[in-house]
Subunit: 347 residues, 2 copies
């Protein structure tokens, strides 16, 4: 397959803008082909035809490469891994209609074909960088437009399977680490502010997922009546800087007022990760979240924040199955997870 | 004062018999003076007179030394420390009648004056060694008998304040670490066997105390109708070897059947003790108990069992107050406890 899990996730290398609070920034465009029914009412033949029309995008001599990956040819583990990288959605990994994904070699760009919409074009950048994620998806969008005609309405804009995406079809989202806002009273305020701005707060795994490790995905919900650049700028230049500042202030307040308790929380989490031999996923994520706070506040100085960011991915079930090349039971996964974390922490 | 807390507790040095399961063995004799009311109905004058009669025992030129410690001259912290060493009872530490304790320089022998009985003579030995603890208390008993006449009845034996001690006045007890019996079903069986033999099972702090760290005090309850040597032998030579064997077998069974889970339990506890910066007493005791199991089964190889045994004492509130020379709040105690454990583990 054309998906190398040895490649680090894009937000686990280098120093990134606001990396203490923002893990990654993602831009996504939803597009559909004119003259074809939406995927939810499309026949197998329709889906295959859409694939055929779009596949040539992989053989372009543009300045970026896309590799075609047929979901049906991937193993269950490989599909899970793609979802764990957020290259594809979980629904897409488990669906059974004809579908595929075009993936950039750095595993940061992808285009899902025949997910909810015919095309879901996305790019993930480390730290707070919606601008470049947006540039990426615009470039991919232009390439696709040379091949096909999009379903577009003069009044409404781009037409999509779900009405919430009609208009620009654009969604901008950032994965944030907000442990201090959660601990302090700041979170209620954030919820209210988000509601007022039609910004959704979701868990690590997106829509409907539970909060884990204090990781939150913030994204715009409105796509109609704005242009893409306004949506991006509103989020990145106006809204998020305040959230980041509030989180940073809350961290300082915690250090000041509850420094001893913070250290206890943080070092205990490190102690569990360094010593447990059986690690359930939720507990591991939660402990990594605490350690991440410790690293970002320089209470823990023998670990890199990128090690944590990468582990958020590598300890997921699919990645563990792939790494240990096995058909591991849940009990075995918990043991391998503990082994892996210890290895990475000692490295 | 004549109590040096720098002296290690008697069961925290050297290799001891059955030290993997038995922390210490204690023999105790209850005695009262003829012609004096029991302490619960004695006047201050009576108590003082008893003290005066017995005090010369400290100036003997026998082959062992006893030092007189007046409880009223000890600080609250010092009294708490004596109780934490099991040199005196908690009731005795907190009482306000004239009372004192004679202490051997190794802090293993003591005679409480005016506790529940006029004399409570005791000796604590490391590991399973009731025989030598018994020899100790008999020697002390003989010394006291030279000074005073004991309340004694031809039919009943030695008379005591509480009827359960009438007869020999002897109690033999051992402090055992029984984590595997607790985890497996063996504990119910042990309870039943103890009941059949009139042996009491109590928590770490004796009568009425809760189980903590899987430490249990087993002691004879009957003192009437037997001679002391029979009581000791019944416990030490007949009953306890089976309990020890059962605990050891249960440990082997756990390793065999649940080795991975055992390691996880044990290493997590070590991880908490090595990393927490705030340690409540109960949690610290519990974690030490788990680590002790790990050490005794050689899952943990970088710690000595005596380090754990000594920490059971040193992390108690009185010992911490003394060590850090302060009037520490509960929060401060929890921090100092964490600091101390980390220090000792790293040593």
């Amino acid at each position: 397959m054309h998906f190398d899990p040895n490649i680090n996730c894009p937000y686990a290398s280098g120093t990134t803008a606001f990396g203490d609070v923002v893990l990654s920034s993602r831009a996504r465009l939803a597009r559909n082909l004119e003259g074809f029914p939406f995927v939810n009412s499309a026949s197998v033949g329709d889906c295959e035809e859409v694939e055929l029309l779009l596949a040539p995008a992989c053989n372009c001599d543009d300045d970026f490469t896309l590799v075609w990956v047929d979901l049906h040819k991937l193993s269950k583990v490989e599909r899970a891994m793609c979802a764990e990288r957020h290259l594809i959605s979980t629904n897409f990994a488990d669906a059974d209609n004809p579908r595929g994904v075009m993936v950039g070699p750095e595993l940061a760009r992808s285009i899902m074909i025949n997910e909810e919409d015919h095309l879901r074009i996305q790019s993930i950048k480390p730290g707070l960088d919606l601008l470049n994620a947006h540039n990426d998806v615009m470039a991919m969008d232009q390439r696709m437009e040379k091949l096909v005609a999009y379903a577009f309405d003069e009044q409404l804009g781009f037409l999509t399977a779900c009405p919430t995406n009609v208009g620009t079809g654009a969604r901008f989202s950032v994965m944030m680490h907000l442990p201090a806002l959660r601990i302090t009273k700041g979170f209620r305020q954030l919820y209210n502010a988000c509601e007022g701005m039609s910004i959704a707060i979701r868990g690590y795994h997106g829509e409907g997922s539970e909060t884990i490790a204090d990781l939150y995905q913030l994204s715009n919900q409105v796509t109609l009546g704005y242009n893409e650049e306004d949506l991006r700028s509103m989020l990145e230049d106006e809204f998020l800087p305040t959230v980041i500042e509030n989180e940073r202030n809350a961290r300082m307040k915690i250090i000041e007022k509850y420094g001893a308790k913070l250290d206890d929380r943080v070092f205990r989490a490190q102690g569990i990760l360094e010593n447990a031999t059986i690690l359930p996923l939720d507990e591991a994520m939660d402990c990594l979240g605490r350690v991440r706070l410790g690293v970002s506040l320089e209470r823990i100085t023998n670990l890199e924040i990128n090690t944590i960011n990468q582990l958020f991915i590598d300890i997921q079930n699919g990645h563990l199955q792939w790494r240990y090349d096995g058909n591991l039971s849940e009990a075995e996964l918990q043991e391998k997870r503990a082994t892996l974390v210890k290895e990475k922490f000692a490295a």
